[in-house]
Each structure stands twice: as structure tokens, then as C-alpha cells.
Subunit: 455 residues, 2 copies
């Protein structure tokens, strides 16, 4: 019998990390503080109390290196964590590359993506804090389904404002959210002032993430028993994702390999940060020399073309201002199929490590992303989410560079989710209906010109 090549590096349930890793403990310079949207002064914890439970607000500003993961959260993580680390040997062969390609596969989560890592934690802390109901927005639906599932586990009600265009186009995402017992409302809706205001002016509005955020925030702000939950961008969200990188480090050791390059796609920044931050922590201690590469769509290049400055998190300017790479909060990205990457800004932590030179950023065009996804599916069997295709494309690029140089290179990327609820985009791609988007220079310039002046 032929010897088998090892392609999976699995850890037992007992190796689920005991603590999240907080990069804020190790940063050579601290993050710039968030500012109050009214006063433009730094925010205090109490300013956020109407929206979030205090335990999450304290995580947001914590500089403790390790933050213990509650046993109740680890118990639920055990449903799918430790997530597998896989070596993509068939893809390596198809590319005929000397590179080693590893991927951490977060699509094994029952919600189908990394989003559940933070959804479970957020639902837990809200439950402990006495919250009865969570409100949130969702665009493509990955986040909405993760929060709905986590809410079901902890007996919380969950209210999801789903961008109207997704609500209509993605009935199966909605079905998934409803299967977990959450309530889904198409946004803009008649249920909130912000929704009614939009509908009065634009009865046919197809909605936007910015509008849905306003509705979800409004509902939480008005009801003491309802809190708001966000699926990316914030420090505590990125913190919860670090289980990805912590597990990956242990699994790469099992494989006897060390990554030369670490790759993740970036929309709000959370899946990238989840894999990268533990490695960046090692870099800061001189224990890793890995390059860390953030991959964004050419259509929405906040890290590569945006400005690193204070901006609002939403288009309606209700949220605090944070210092981040931004294309301007009024910039509406082109309609690429990777809905999770269509955000004008970037997590402050990701922006900060990029500014410090601890990470770099590249762009991938839509057609290249789908071509990479198809190539990956035929070699490895997994159809990635359109967002994750950007990471796949960048990883393949790395492997082909290594081939051109005739040198070994170990690439590790985060396969943040599967594409089972995104097959329409694959149908459109295979039918030749998708296109690349040029960098929308004028629109971005206009949006950047409108950035708030902090005098």
C-alpha cells in the first residue's frame, strides 16, 4: 500500500484555545481613541453602554494580552473548533509549484464562516449581562445567520435587518436565519424612524448596509433590553477571531512547517485579523518573519487607496469616528459579488498594523477571484465564498511567484467560509456575466474630499 501524504492537521477538542490574544498588549504604539460623533472628543465606556454590554466595551479598550474565553463559549466552539488546518496538496500539484500551501478552513462552522467565532462570544456576554434581544444588520447574510444561531444557543431573541436587495435576492440565506428562530426584516422598513424616513423619500429603496445599521442601532438605543451586535471592524470582534491564528500556529507546528506568507481577505478586517494578529504578535517578539498580506477587492481598495484618518463607520454618521483606512463614508462600492468586502473603511486595528509596517495590502479583481475559486474547488473540493476567493487568488499568486523563482515558500491563508449560499454568483461567473471594476478614482476622491475635518 502506498503511504498517504498528510493533508489534515486536526487538534482535539481539548486544544481549543483557553484565551483570545489581544494585540493591543503588544503594539509599539497604541491605537488612536474613537471619538464621539457629536463632541468629537474621545469616547468613554459609558457612551457605548446603550448599545453594548459592559464586558464587551471593556474588551474593546483592554490592553491585557490574554483574555480568557469563557467555558460556555469554548463549549459551543467545540461544535466545530479547533477548525481544520489543511495542506492543499492537490492545488500545489495543479500549480506545479514548489510552494507549500496551507489553509485554515473556517467554513466548517455550522454557520459556514468565521463569523460564528464572535457571534457566540457576543451572545454569551449579552446573556450574562441580562440582554433579552440582539439587533443587527446583515448584507450578504453570513453575519446574520451566525448571530441568529448564537442567539438560539443562548435563548436570546434576535432581530436582523437585512438589506432589501439581499432579502429579495437571497431567500435561502433568510431561510437559514429564520430556521434558527430569528426575525428577519427587509431594510429599510416601517419599523423604525430611520427606515420610515428613507421610505418616505425613496419608497422603492433597495437599502444599504448603512441604512440597516441605522435601523438596528435605533432599535437597540430605544430599548434597554435590546443590544446591538456588529460582525466586524471593532476591536472586540477581531479579538474573538484570534482563535483562528492561535490554533493555526499549533497546527503548523504539527505540520513541521513555518509560514513565510500569511494571507487573508479584508472587508471589515475580522477574518484577516483572526489569522494574522497572533502571528504579528510573534513578529513583534522576533519569533516570526512571516510577511502578512491583506487582500482587498480592486473595487473597494480601502487599504491600498484609502486615507488613514478619522472617519465615521456608517454613511448616516451616527457611529463614533475611528482612525482607519477609509475611502470616505459616503463612498458606495461597486456591486461586486463579495458583499462582505464592500465596506468603505477598515478595522482600526488592521489599519494600525498596516500603518506600522507590520502588514501589507494587495488587490484582486473580481474575475481573478472567481477564477481562483473555481481552480480551488476543482483541486480541493471546496467552493469558497466570493469573499474568500480573494484570499485564494492571492495565495495562488504567491505560489506562482515561488514557482517562477524556483524557490520554496510556505503560504498560509484563511479560507473564511464556503460559498453554498452564493451559488448565484458562480452561475453568473460561469455564464460570463461578471466583470472587473476599475478603481473608481473620481468617486473615491469625492468621498475623501468629504471626510470630516477635526479642526
Amino acid at each position: 500500500m502506498l503511504a498517504m501524504e498528510t493533508i489534515q492537521y486536526n487538534l482535539p477538542q481539548s486544544r481549543i484555545p483557553q484565551a483570545w490574544y489581544n494585540i493591543q498588549a503588544d503594539l509599539p504604539q497604541p491605537l488612536a481613541p474613537p471619538l464621539h460623533p457629536g463632541t468629537l472628543k474621545p469616547l468613554g465606556p459609558e457612551d457605548l453602554a446603550p448599545l453594548f454590554p459592559m464586558s464587551l466595551i471593556l474588551q474593546e479598550v483592554s490592553t491585557e494580552r490574554e483574555i480568557e474565553i469563557p467555558a460556555e463559549v469554548r463549549q459551543i466552539y467545540a461544535q466545530w473548533r479547533p477548525a481544520p488546518l489543511m495542506r492543499a496538496r492537490r492545488l500545489e500539484k495543479a500549480l506545479d509549484t514548489p510552494a507549500h500551501i496551507y489553509y485554515k478552513y473556517e467554513g466548517v462552522s455550522p454557520a459556514g464562516s468565521h463569523k460564528l467565532n464572535t457571534a457566540v462570544a457576543q451572545a454569551y456576554y449579552n446573556k450574562v449581562d441580562g440582554t433579552k434581544r440582539l439587533s443587527t444588520e446583515t448584507g450578504a447574510g453570513q453575519w446574520g445567520s451566525a448571530l441568529a444561531m448564537a442567539s438560539a444557543f443562548f435563548g436570546l431573541e434576535c432581530k436582523v435587518y437585512m438589506v432589501r436587495v439581499s432579502y429579495d435576492q437571497k431567500p435561502y440565506r433568510r431561510a437559514l436565519i429564520e430556521a434558527f428562530g430569528a426575525t428577519v426584516t427587509a431594510s429599510p422598513s416601517q419599523e423604525t424612524e430611520s427606515g420610515r424616513a428613507i421610505l418616505a423619500e425613496h419608497p422603492e429603496s433597495r437599502g444599504s448596509l448603512g441604512i440597516a445599521i441605522s435601523e438596528a442601532v435605533e432599535v437597540a438605543a430605544k430599548d434597554p433590553q435590546t443590544k446591538y451586535a456588529l460582525g466586524s471592524v471593532l476591536n472586540h470582534v477581531l479579538l474573538h477571531q484570534t482563535v483562528i491564528g492561535l490554533e493555526a500556529m499549533e497546527q503548523m507546528a504539527m505540520a513541521g512547517d513555518e509560514p513565510d506568507v500569511i494571507v487573508g481577505c479584508t472587508g471589515g478586517g475580522s477574518n484577516f485579523a483572526g489569522l494574522a494578529m497572533p502571528y504579528i504578535g510573534q513578529k513583534l517578539k522576533g519569533k516570526s518573519k512571516a510577511r502578512v498580506v491583506a487582500v482587498e477587492p480592486s473595487a473597494c481598495p480601502s487599504l491600498t487607496k484609502g486615507r488613514f484618518t478619522y472617519d465615521f463607520g456608517d454613511t448616516a454618521h451616527l457611529t463614533p469616528l475611528v482612525k482607519m483606512h477609509t475611502l470616505g463614508s459616503t463612498f458606495v462600492p461597486p456591486g461586486i459579488h463579495a458583499g462582505g468586502l464592500r465596506y468603505h473603511g477598515m478595522a482600526p486595528l488592521v489599519s494600525h498594523v498596516l500603518d506600522l509596517g507590520l502588514a501589507e495590502a494587495v488587490t484582486v479583481q473580481q474575475l481573478d477571484a472567481f477564477a481562483a475559486g473555481i481552480q480551488f474547488a476543482r483541486a480541493e473540493g471546496i467552493v469558497p465564498a466570493p469573499e474568500s476567493n480573494h484570499a485564494v487568488a492571492a495565495a495562488i499568486r504567491q505560489a506562482l511567484e515561488a514557482k517562477a523563482e524556483g524557490k520554496a515558500r510556505t503560504v498560509l491563508f484563511n479560507l473564511s467560509g464556503h460559498g453554498h449560499f452564493d451559488m448565484q454568483s458562480y452561475l453568473d461567473y460561469q455564464a460570463g456575466k461578471l466583470e472587473n471594476y476599475e478603481y473608481p478614482e473620481e468617486e473615491i476622491a469625492m468621498a475623501l474630499a468629504g471626510l470630516p475635518s477635526l479642526g
Copy 2:
């Protein structure tokens, strides 16, 4: 910190079984032989040679207890095998039952179901045998996507005849099959004589599994480089699924528990057999006392209401006759959403062990199956395929019986696949659009009256 309860029992890649288990070695009475549809005499291997590679034909009739799994197949199994065994502790709590509920989760396969276990093996043996192209039929699409993926891995062309009604209603299943590079044709088609004959008579035909089988078989029979592949019913298909039960036995030992009841849903019989046959082998050796329960839909009750006799495998009477539990090959089951369970017959091996008293059968109504699926999803996070919901419902029934008796009971069931491509059925269920089906007594009586007489 609270101690964690163990819910996952994972084996490393090295514990993928080295051999499939062949129950034919241990049966107290051998299977009745299949008969040639023309001569009604027992078939010889050469009769099947136009459709299958000889290695699979020999497996079909083998009485060797262990059949080595080729290293190339195990290497691909390593993508998702050993599949996890999970203890459904949150479901146990929700049911407030003293029962222990375990499930083997086959939905982690990149194709989303157990079907890939045999698809990979069939593609491998065809590749070794020099086959260039595989043809098959698919209804709901689980089998078509599994064979498409396996074909991509081995560089085989793959041609899938997809029942017209599914082709139109399930574009995302088709998109998945096409993403793996296979060609999908709505059946009946203009590509085959059987398809053209149907279309000439019924231009608006929505197709059926029987018609699609005819098309796929015809294409294979006419071209020496094309072979036919079937996703259930046949002995070699059930054989390939025994990795499920072999792994589960090792994992149950890790859990320090022994199943009192083993549950699987049955359409053609392969996922049930995959879990059950290794345990039935143990029963035959006096090493297990587990009850083995096959679960079928009330709408298509071949095991509980059918006759154990020789019948054709297809409606057009092109296939061999096999001795099995059958509702009559002309019986068309009601349109329940569990498309994979809508088959008039049952695998001869499953029929045989039932006849020998080594297994029993129960039925579940459609609404009970979906209610169980929703309850499972909210407790365990996984939305099961509509077929698998039948197993979930029967497992819950077992757990509630144990509760009523106030006794411990260990239940192990096969969660054969996820429902990510079946969300329309959940939408319909939640909207109150689904119904139960009474046992279609008259139709079955009519179909049984038409059974072939072997004089």
C-alpha cells in the same frame, strides 16, 4: 474555569479505515442473485461489463470480509475523513432526556453528504480501468455533485442527467455540479433515444429519476469509453459507505459508550447501510446488541409496506431484477421534499438484513421530519438535509421513549448531509405550505399487482 463537556470525538487522518467491511462475508444466508432483464436468468459479471469497470463488478459479488481501500481513495477521504462523531448534548438538554444522543456527521464532506464516499471510490476504479467519462443521473443533486467532484479529482469527464424539475427548481445545485467542471443536461433531453422518445410523446415532461437513469445508461452502453455510476442501492455502493460505521465504532469507544439503537434514513439504503452494516456484523458475532432502525418516509414506505420480491430497479425496466423490498417499479412516490428517499425499491442488502430480522423499519411523516430538523438546528447549529431529518426525527423519538421510561438509552444516528441546498423546503415548511402524505395504499396495490411474475 468550568470543565468542558466532551461533544466531539475526532480521529486523526491516520485512522481512516484501511478496508471497507463487506457484510456478504458474514450473512447467515447469501443474497439472492440479480436476474437478467431479458432472460430472467442469474446475471454473470460480463453482463454488467458495458456499464461498470470489472473491479466494481467483482466487489458487487465479493464475499471477502475486508476489501482494501486503495491509498489514492484514502488520500482523498483525508479531505474530510474521519468524519466527526458528535454528542448532541444541547439537544439532549432541550429534550430533557436521560438518553445519550450521538450523530455521525457526513455533511462535512465537501460535497455536503455521504455520497462522496462512494463517488471517490467509483471514480478511482473507473480511472484505473481506463474509463474516460462517467455518466449518471441525479434528482435532488447530492449524488450529481459528489460524482462531479470525484471526477474532477481524477481527471474524468462527467455527464449528469438531472431530472428536469430539479434542474429548473434547483439552479444552485446545478451551479455546484458545473463548478466542478461536469456537464449537466436537463432530462428528458434530445441527446438520447430514450430522451427523444419521451419528448416526442410528452414535450412538456418534467422528467423522473427513471427517465434520467435510462438516458445515463444509454450513453454509457453506447460508448466504450463511458461508464455508468449509481449513487445507492448496489452492493458495491453500500460497501464504500461502511467507512461511516467503522469510524463510528472507534469513536464510540473513545466516548466510552455503546449504542443501544442505531438509526439511519433509507431511500436507496446507502447511508443507513454505511453506518449499520459494521454494527450488524458485530451483532452476528454476538458482540453488539444494538437495535438497528431504518427510517423511511410515510409517503414511500418500501420497507414497511412493500413486498420482498424480485423487481426492476427502474420504471422503464432496463435494469436487472433484484430481490428487494419494493412498492412496485411503476409506483411514483408523492412529491415530498426529501427527494433522495423517493425510490420505489430498497437496496437488496438492506432488504435482506431486514428480512433476516437483523434490522427493523419505521416511518416518519414529512411535517414531523421538518419539525425535528428545526429543533435539531436550533440546538446543534446544523440544518440537516430533508432526507436526514427523518433520521433526526426517529432519534428524537427514541430519546423521548427513554425519557418516558425514565431509563438511559444510547442512540447513534447518521446525519447524512446538510440542507444548504434545500432551503426552499425549509421556507415552504416555515410558511406552512408542506403537508403530510397518507400512505398511498391504492397506488401501491396497483403497482404491486404489476410486479413481474417469475413463473
